[in-house]
């Protein structure tokens, strides 16, 4: 450049400048536009997403160099008379138009400003780290600088930050500052906020965070924006504009809350489980939700976490209920209208309603006051719930998706009502209870009647007599039956040998849930004793008679096959089916149906039991053969002897309804399940039944397709029988040939 200056001087002296001036002008212009400027741009463009101190230094150097070049070019002296207004080599003007030039270069425009976001965030991080050393060390609980990660005494952030002022000055001289600030500063702030909140709240902590975050914002981000505003003052004063309007600042502040909800929603499960220890965190969340909404973030994670962690066979009903109760408390606190709770907990409710022992656990946790002991176990200090007792809030927008409003009645703060709401309505809960009681009494398990009576009384206190009257009669039937059994046994023992003891549960049909009668002809021996019992009953209770249901009740049978003796307890229906295989090894479904005088659907449904325990094999479609090879039966007889007690077949009673399509669908489903299990065993070698179940429910079969423990075991046992699986010491494995 200096050389160029002296050349120009010579030319002027020789009066030859006119000839050469256009060339010089063009040369310099080209030099700037095609070399200097692209160099600067490429340096800026090459800044990585999270720049290091070196990268930043590189950019600053590029800026400094660019500025230097411009200045040098500027120093070339061109006498006034040669500078005409239009064509002059006015470099000052060039600087004036630089921002609009950048804007016109579309290819670099976006990445140009984008890079400033990274740059600015880098310096903002320095700045906030300097400004909020004490707050952050309190929040995170250590004494490292939040940015450079060095001990606070050794922190180098301030040195870094000084460079920033240089950058701002250069940008200002290049007239780029305002534009760059407007395009990049807010975004840089957002990045910083999001990263900062994520870093500080990544681990669950029961402490309040929002006040600290807000302090961090005020002392750091906010001040930094003020500084930028100060630098831009000159440029802005001309257009009398604010660099950032209030709206933008408010958005930023709310963005902290949004990030906070995002970070904490990951901990919702912990927050729920830990409640009430987590109530400080909840206070934060409530404030966030109140200000900016975003409830769906919480709703979605609660749903997901519950599905993943609790709603599978591996979790105990008591645990699920306790978590459910806590979830209700927590979500009610966050949103007193109950909409959040309803949306988040709906699938928990559905799951609990499907789980067999839910009612039992709820009812057995009731005590004299009608309050759940569970409730007391998880009792909160009441602080949280009282706070929002009196301030009414409108329902949040998410209410539009709420499936039902049962949970949101004024009484729903009462935990018992909440649990009852699992079944949709108190009347349905009561109905469900009555069914459960009936199932228990019919199951043949010894029932403690005084105990059950106490529960019935507790329920009556709470729900009134109306729906529970039947329970009294059911319990009385149970007691009366025992008395009648006693006297009839005495009566019968005179006529029959005592080899086959008979007992009956004699029920008042009007007061029990519907009793099913699927007709079937029992083996003669059973028929005879039943008939004798009925006659004896008629003599004790005049003008009354008995109708027997073979769908319920238990027959204890001893099966002798292949030199082994196996014990089973099954319904009379099941007994009648296997009894037929004594006379003939092979039966078709239709032959069985005509021989037993019952429907084919009934048989199809029940013959599975014998197939599953290896006594029968489906030779071809609807044709069953007795399995003579005793080793196969013996293989899982351990199971059957101890566990295979089929006490009722009341649930699956739509005997006639089942058609071929349904069966096919079931078979298809079973194939999928088996393939899935084989896959799991290939990777995990051996698994327990429970583990398989919970894996299935997590990965494969949610919702209504979910399999119960027994269903899965039946499938597994079939595979064991077919030698496709091995079962040893409670573990299922693939046979060694299959393992590869």
């Amino acid at each position: 450049m200096n050389q160029l200056s002296s050349i120009i001087d010579d030319l002027i002296e020789n009066g030859e400048i006119d000839l050469i001036l256009p060339v010089i002008k063009g040369g310099i212009k080209n030099q700037i536009e095609e070399v200097y400027f692209p160099q600067l741009c490429s340096v800026i463009e090459n800044v990585p997403q999270s720049p290091s101190a070196n990268d930043i230094q590189h950019v600053i150097n590029a800026f400094l160099q660019f500025e230097l070049l411009l200045n040098e070019t500027n120093q070339i002296y061109i006498p006034e008379q040669y500078v005409d207004k239009e064509q002059c080599l006015n470099l000052k003007r060039y600087i004036e138009i630089l921002p609009s030039k950048i804007n016109r270069l579309h290819t670099i425009k976006n990445s140009f400003y984008q890079k400033f976001i990274c740059l600015f965030e880098y310096y903002l991080a320095c700045y906030t780290a300097i400004q909020s050393k004490t707050i952050i060390s309190e929040l995170i609980g250590n004494t490292l600088c939040s940015f450079c990660k060095k001990q606070i005494g050794l922190c180098t952030c301030e040195t870094f930050y000084r460079n920033f002022e240089a950058v701002l000055n250069i940008l200002k001289r290049l007239k780029l500052l305002t534009k760059v600030c407007q395009m990049s500063a807010i975004e840089a702030c957002r990045h910083r906020i999001s990263n900062f909140v994520r870093d500080t709240c990544s681990k669950y902590s029961p402490n309040e965070c929002i006040p600290v975050l807000e302090q961090w914002y005020e002392s750091g981000v906010h001040c930094w924006l003020e500084i930028l505003q100060g630098y831009c003052y000159d440029e802005l004063s001309q257009s009398s504009q604010e660099l950032f309007d209030d709206h933008k600042r408010l958005e930023l502040k709310n963005y902290i809350l949004e990030c906070y909800i995002k970070a904490r929603s990951k901990h919702m499960f912990m927050i729920i489980i830990e409640y009430p220890e987590s109530c400080k965190v909840l206070k934060d969340l409530k404030q966030c939700i109140k200000q900016i909404g975003h409830r769906y973030l919480i709703i979605d994670t609660v749903k997901d976490e519950f599905n993943k962690r609790l709603l599978h066979p591996g979790a105990g009903t008591t645990d699920i209920l306790a978590a459910f109760i806590n979830a209700i408390r927590v979500l009610r606190y966050l949103d007193s209208t109950g909409v959040m709770m309803e949306l988040s907990c709906n699938n928990v409710k559905q799951y609990l309603a499907r789980r067999e022992d839910t009612i039992r656990v709820i009812v057995s946790n009731m005590n004299e006051h009608g309050v759940l002991e569970l409730d007391e176990l998880t009792e909160s200090d009441g602080r949280a719930t009282q706070m929002d007792m009196y301030d009414w809030e409108p329902e949040p927008i998410e209410a539009l998706n709420a499936p039902d409003r049962a949970l949101r009645t004024p009484h729903s703060r009462d935990m018992m009502s909440m649990l009852v709401s699992i079944y949709g309505h108190p009347e349905l809960f009561v109905e469900e209870y009555v069914h459960m009681l009936a199932d228990r009494l019919l199951s043949g398990v010894k029932v403690d009647i005084t105990h059950e009576g106490r529960y019935v009384d507790l329920l009556k206190n709470r729900f009134g007599d109306a729906g529970l009257q039947g329970c009294d009669v059911m319990l009385k039937d149970y007691i009366d039956s025992e008395t009648i059994n006693g006297s009839i046994r005495k009566n019968l023992s005179e006529k029959f040998s005592l080899e086959l003891p008979i007992n009956a549960l004699i029920i008042s049909s009007q007061y029990w849930p519907e009793v099913k009668f699927s007709p079937i002809e029992l083996p003669d021996e059973l028929m005879a004793i039943q008939k004798a019992y009925t006659t004896a009953y008629g003599s004790i209770r005049s003008r009354r008679t008995l109708h027997w249901s073979h769908n319920y009740g238990q027959v204890k049978i001893e099966i002798e096959i292949g030199g082994k003796t196996l014990d089973f307890t099954v319904t009379p229906f099941h007994a009648a089916i296997i009894y037929k295989f004594q006379d003939k090894d092979v039966w078709t479904i239709s032959d069985l149906s005509s021989s037993l005088k019952c429907s084919t659907a009934c048989i199809r449904k029940r013959i599975n039991l014998w197939q599953n325990c290896g006594l029968l094999k489906e030779e071809s479609k609807d044709t069953y053969r007795l399995v003579e090879d005793s080793s196969k039966v013996a293989q899982n007889s351990q199971h059957t002897q101890n566990e295979m007690v089929i006490t009722k077949c009341g649930d699956d009673e739509n005997d006639t309804a089942e058609n071929q399509a349904d069966l096919d669908k079931k078979e298809h489903e079973q194939t999928i399940i088996c393939n899935f299990i084989f896959g799991m065993l290939r990777t995990m070698t051996s698994l327990t039944l429970e583990r398989i179940c919970s894996l299935l429910s997590i990965y494969a079969f949610h919702g209504k397709n979910e399999k119960t423990l027994i269903e899965v075991r039946n499938i597994l046992d079939q595979k064991v029988t077919a030698n496709q699986l091995q079962y040893k010491n409670g573990l299922y494995t693939l046979p060694s040939s299959n393992q590869e």
Partner: protein
Amino acid sequence: MINSCKNKMRIRFKEFNGVAIWKWIANDDSCGICRMPFDASCSECRYPGNDCPVLHGECSHCYHEHCIKKWINSQQTNKLCPMCRQEWKSVP
């Protein structure tokens, strides 16, 4: 063991716990007075069966004992079966 070629399997019943519903032997399902089924109690009773028996009349009509007695007692003059208006005489 002897006829194992014929009977590969032998089944022995060891115990039978049955479930049965009881029913009144009557010519109708429900009481003509209270309209409740006989297998349920009359509207005054809590438990069916022994506590709330069914009475047969000579005219072959049946009622809950409590229902027919109330009806008969409410009649000053002739005690008639509500269904057939014949004189009510209960079969012991």
